[in-house]
Symmetry: C2
Subunit: 205 residues, 2 copies
Amino acid sequence: MAGKISKTDQRREELRERLIGIAEARIAAQGLASVKVRDLAREAGCAVGAIYNVFTDLNGLVMAVNGRTFRKLGSHVSETVAERPQDRAQDQLITMSLAYLHFAQGNHNLWRALFDLDMSTDMDVPQWYLAELGALFALIAAPIARIFPDWPGDRVDLMTRTLFSSVHGIVLLGLQKRISGVPLDRIEAMIAALLSNVTAQAGKP
Amino acid sequence: MAGKISKTDQRREELRERLIGIAEARIAAQGLASVKVRDLAREAGCAVGAIYNVFTDLNGLVMAVNGRTFRKLGSHVSETVAERPQDRAQDQLITMSLAYLHFAQGNHNLWRALFDLDMSTDMDVPQWYLAELGALFALIAAPIARIFPDWPGDRVDLMTRTLFSSVHGIVLLGLQKRISGVPLDRIEAMIAALLSNVTAQAGKP
């Protein structure tokens, strides 16, 4: 009996992974709006009902894709920083931010889906998602804590979220031609201008 | 003959204003996705074809709504600054940014429409739209130029766009519960943390 349940679980897990892969490819190619339940069922060779047996709704499926994207983003950022062990903490923040920019540019639709998915209530956000986000923030907090060694943890945390949001805003508007209409090197210059000015306060109260 | 043409133009202009008002109310209440041509035609009491006689497409109509929103935003920001004539330039930047936050919070759907409208090519952006954006940027550039009097114009311009994008990112993610899940006073603290650190460099090279 235990073996039979296990086989059902295995099939369910296989379908889950297959659906995530299909949704990921669709989002990457055509954006979030291309994730439609009938198309997914056809491509996965399953019934529509089978999808809702694995995910509560399509938001749950997109969340799973976003989880993968967050992990890829985190790996990309941490590997880029690891390639430059000689960087000062100030430069690490710039390196990370440029890695974020290049990831957003190279994986534009998947990156947009991280922020465009509608999750209007706190209850919609699963713990593993917050954990992925926390891991990304920890990467940013480390150099900030080194730059401002006298700051208490909550001030480091506030600046971490502040700088993440700021760089996100620069990347988001910079990649939207209509608002700023700037080439990539100008987006890079904006990131450097921001972070150089912010971190120039190092060692001051 | 001239009188007849003028009357046609006048009717066209009246329909144009009515459609903008209807679309504005719909976006404010239900967001960008609620702007649908059949609903607009029914509410305006005109044929679908009449809408396309006034606007090239629905994007053109939403752009017109966005133009109004930009003007309201600009007025709100400049009036808020004018109420505090004793502010230093550093504090003016914070005052402006908080005015931006409060406008975004109080006019959430109209504000989102400014950035969510799909305009993928530069050709889609009319000159009057760029002029509205330029007026908003000029408000921000003025205190930056006073804080950093030695900076050349292009450096002031880069920092203007950098800070606008940064504050936009803080407001955008701050108002999306799932990413940061922060109360309004924490968003305000993030804005103050950013701008205090950036402008603390005043007078340094």
